[in-house]
Subunit: 105 residues, 2 copies
DNA sequence: TAGGTACGTAACCAATTGGGTACATTGAAC
DNA sequence: GTTCAATGTACCCAATTGGTTACGTACCTA
């Protein structure tokens, strides 16, 4: 959980996940898509790997990265502890709006 | 979004949110509950405030902080872009398990 | 108005992060 | 076996973070 949230806090890393959401990619392809040099990308990929957010598979010299979306379940479950609260608030807001409409009639 | 995820990346801040989930609290109460000194807590609270995760209300000298769970909707919506993917994978896993059970009969 | 209480902010410091360049490694291909 | 391609790691540096102590400020109380 900690590792996942930490990994998600960086924008470059979120961009990588976004790319991998559409298709797998090699480290080089990811580097080309980002404004930072390959070694930097390599280190970001390590963070994502250690958080369980991506998988790597080797093919000749290429390292092919793919998304491991299950890791995000942790975040979803953490959010669960708060979801009821914001739902409750939004419900109250909607009720308020509905009442407003009614009274304006 | 960026501000919210950044705020959530720190464990002390997540602990504060957890406390505020149960009841509002003054800055001092939050500081007492954490292993860091009040000025540190003050700065964490600023981060949470700027991310929209908490509200403050002044009452005499006290600053009373309360959770603003709506801010977490941003994270939930971001997750939405991935939820289908992990659901799909988990479904496949369950199917696999079901098939395994069947074949073992 | 003097003093205490509850905060926030300023200044400072050590540790971490995120970037870059240079180098090591591994596999293909000639 | 030499060379090229793809990638990770080591090392260095500037910026950011997270903590501390010291100080400023606002508000109640006597």
């Amino acid at each position: 959980m900690d590792a996942v949230l930490h990994a998600l806090a960086d924008e470059s890393r979120r961009t990588m996940l976004e790319i991998l959401r559409d298709h797998q990619a090699t480290a080089g392809e990811l580097a080309d898509a980002l404004p930072i040099a390959r070694p930097g990308v390599s280190r970001h990929l390590r963070v994502l790997r250690e958080a369980g957010l991506v998988d790597v598979r080797q093919e000749a010299q290429r390292r092919i990265y793919s998304l491991r979306p299950e890791a995000l379940v942790e975040v979803d479950e953490w959010l669960d502890g708060y979801r009821a609260l914001w739902r409750h608030r939004l419900d109250a807001l909607h009720t308020e709006i509905a009442r407003g409409k009614k009274e304006r009639k």
